[in-house]
């Protein structure tokens, strides 16, 4: 069985990933997957030519493993896997895969969304966009913190300190 968490430069294949996750498991009745991809624009602002992803080796894997453990405690799921790419990616390329299996669809839908909400605000990755005017680091979003709060987890990733 594949590792639950993989951080790598290479692309992934959704079909192969799903096949490996549910292989031989007759108790699985639902598979939910999420794929995040590179946009070439942000709102009305076009012209993103590439995205560079940096991570904190070791801490990134451990933090996602802990998120998956939490997902298994909260939801009745059978298997889960997260693949996240790092390095330089071009628009339209795949960035991240979250795949979850369960007996019935509801738990897999919820666990997949929970893992993505968690990952956005707690896993140490950073994105840098290259635009015609230069490269800049992407700002964290308060809306991502709010998404995690739906699950009863207080997130302050995007919050600036008082007086900032």
């Amino acid at each position: 069985m594949a590792a639950r968490v993989e951080i790598r430069h290479e692309d992934f294949d959704l079909g192969r990933e799903v096949a490996a996750l549910r292989e031989g498991d007759g108790g699985t009745g639902a598979v939910v997957t999420f794929i995040g991809t590179v946009r070439d624009r942000e709102g009305d602002c076009a012209g993103i030519s590439s995205l560079e992803l940096e991570h904190y080796p070791g801490m990134t894997e451990a933090s996602i493993e802990a998120m998956i453990d939490d997902a298994f405690r909260r939801f009745d799921i059978r298997a889960a896997r997260v693949v996240h790419r790092v390095g330089v990616l071009k628009p339209l390329e795949q960035i991240v895969l979250v795949a979850v299996t369960s007996a019935h669809r509801g738990q897999a839908f919820q666990a997949c969304e929970f893992l993505m909400d968690y990952l956005k605000t707690q896993a140490p990755f950073w994105k840098k966009e290259t635009r015609p005017e230069g490269a800049c680091w992407v700002d964290a979003r308060v809306s991502d913190d709010a998404a995690l709060e739906r699950w009863g987890i207080q997130a302050t990733n995007a919050v600036a300190p008082p007086g900032a």
Binding site: G36, L53, E54, H55, Y56, G58, M59, A62, S63, H84, I95, V96, M116, L119, K120, T121, Q122, A123, P124, F125, W126, K127, K128, W137, V138, D139, A140, N157, A158, V159, A160, P161, G163, A164
Partner: protein, 83 residues
């Protein structure tokens, strides 16, 4: 007491990837951050108290009161933006 300090993303670009810091008398991660800010220059700017800086002790997110020990790994980085 010595600790390994690592920086990521914009802080890595400003301060370098890592350094070893003599941390005698520094009990917590918050005290270490203040010590680095007191150097002035890029450290004072990048780690300023008014900025959104996240920190980790031995690869776990932590607050200012996390206790340092000899050989600890401390990391400072901006809010995360993966996914």
């Amino acid at each position: 007491m010595r600790v390994r300090v690592r920086y990521f993303a914009s802080l890595r670009e400003a301060l370098g990837a890592e350094e070893t810091v003599e941390a005698d008398g520094l009990a917590t991660v918050g005290a270490l951050r203040d010590h680095l800010v007191a150097r002035g220059g890029a450290h004072a700017v990048g780690l300023a108290r008014g900025r959104a800086v996240r920190q980790a002790l031995d690869q776990r997110l932590c607050g200012d009161d996390a206790a340092l020990r000899d050989g600890a790994e401390v990391a400072f980085f901006p809010p995360v933006t993966g996914g």
